[in-house]
Symmetry: C2
Subunit: 211 residues, 2 copies
């Protein structure tokens, strides 16, 4: 007889499917098949699809928390938070569906609250007021979880280079910017890592001044 199903095994399988085939491939039937079980059997461990996605989000946040808790940074509050957010980003890069799933959840996973609690703790310890700490959490947005809201999607950037030339008159400044920057970008145009850190430091610097 095969290993018994548990909520945890179901969630792990769900993450596996999402990683391998994308979040759209995560259906109840498909998930059942992955576990050698019929779709309806899953309902004894999860109340439904929504609860499944809640659980997946929770699992993802758990993974991030684990990575974040192992961060040791010798330095001030900035160095610590910076290292944490970048650690979270590494997890998120392994689960590209993460932002979408987290955004689709009605309630914040409890792990996220615990995480925020620790961030606030760091800032209060560094001499910030609760008011600024509060605003900092908002200003960070999703950066503690390792991603930012990109209005450009990465894929659009890849193909954008070619297309832009065709509409140079409609987007003169964008085209000029690409022309000006293209030869300087060692790591490729629109290196997300660089942008992420730039934005992060911009916020950290600004907050430091607000202290």
């Amino acid at each position: 007889m095969r290993k018994a199903l548990t909520r945890d095994r179901v969630l792990q399988a769900a993450v596996t499917i999402a990683d391998r085939d994308g979040i759209a491939a995560l259906t109840m039937r498909r998930l059942g098949a992955e576990l050698g079980v019929e779709a309806m059997s899953l309902y004894h461990h999860l109340r439904g699809k929504d609860a499944l996605l809640d659980g997946v989000a929770e699992t993802l946040v758990g993974e991030i928390l684990e990575a974040v808790e192992q961060v040791v940074a010798d330095g001030d509050w900035r160095a610590l938070l910076r290292a944490r957010f970048l650690a979270a980003r590494e997890i998120m890069l392994r689960h590209r569906w993460g932002p979408g799933v987290l955004n689709s959840r009605a309630d914040v996973p409890f792990g996220v609250l615990r995480y925020y609690d620790s961030i606030i703790g760091v800032m209060i310890g560094a001499g910030f007021s609760y008011r600024i700490a509060h605003r900092a959490v908002h200003a960070f947005g999703s950066m503690p979880l390792g991603f930012v809201q990109e209005a450009f999607s990465p894929s659009a950037d890849d193909t954008g280079g070619d297309d832009l030339a065709a509409v140079a008159d409609l987007l003169p400044n964008l085209v000029a910017m690409v022309a000006s920057e293209a030869h300087e970008a060692e790591l490729g145009w629109c290196d997300s890592q660089v942008e992420f850190e730039f934005t992060l430091d911009l916020l950290l610097d600004g907050l430091d001044r607000a202290r």
Copy 2:
């Protein structure tokens, strides 16, 4: 005979449904019904559901562009961009489904590119390098479109106040922060408008220094 269907009328109806009943209620059948037509008739104006959502996103961006173009700010680049982003935010507040739809699109609506082009133009005109202008666009993320990635969802904040007391020992800093801030918040706990402007100014100030 009733008014003829056009792509534009279809998209307008789609926006109406999304505003009134939520984006999940926007199905082909429902949209057809709204227009007094069968679902399949929509396929003569849109290639499918995905094209519909692309069109809805395009419509939304168009609305934002219209609002943004009417902004006149007497002042420096910061005042201008600030006023534009806040104008965009007003539109986005009327379409709560906006962030979700924009995030779900594979390609960036062209209007967004035109919008970014103008932002870059403003910054170059103010003496920024293309490199910093580029990073600024990334740093702004979705703020030009009037929203930020909130890891807290607004609804979670509403109910959070009560729940937090029950888990005070698990979230000591969060609870302390709420206690410290609650009596100072004239406009309610977690006033999104205030947070939005705070984050925006943090970025604008930081960029100004990078000039």
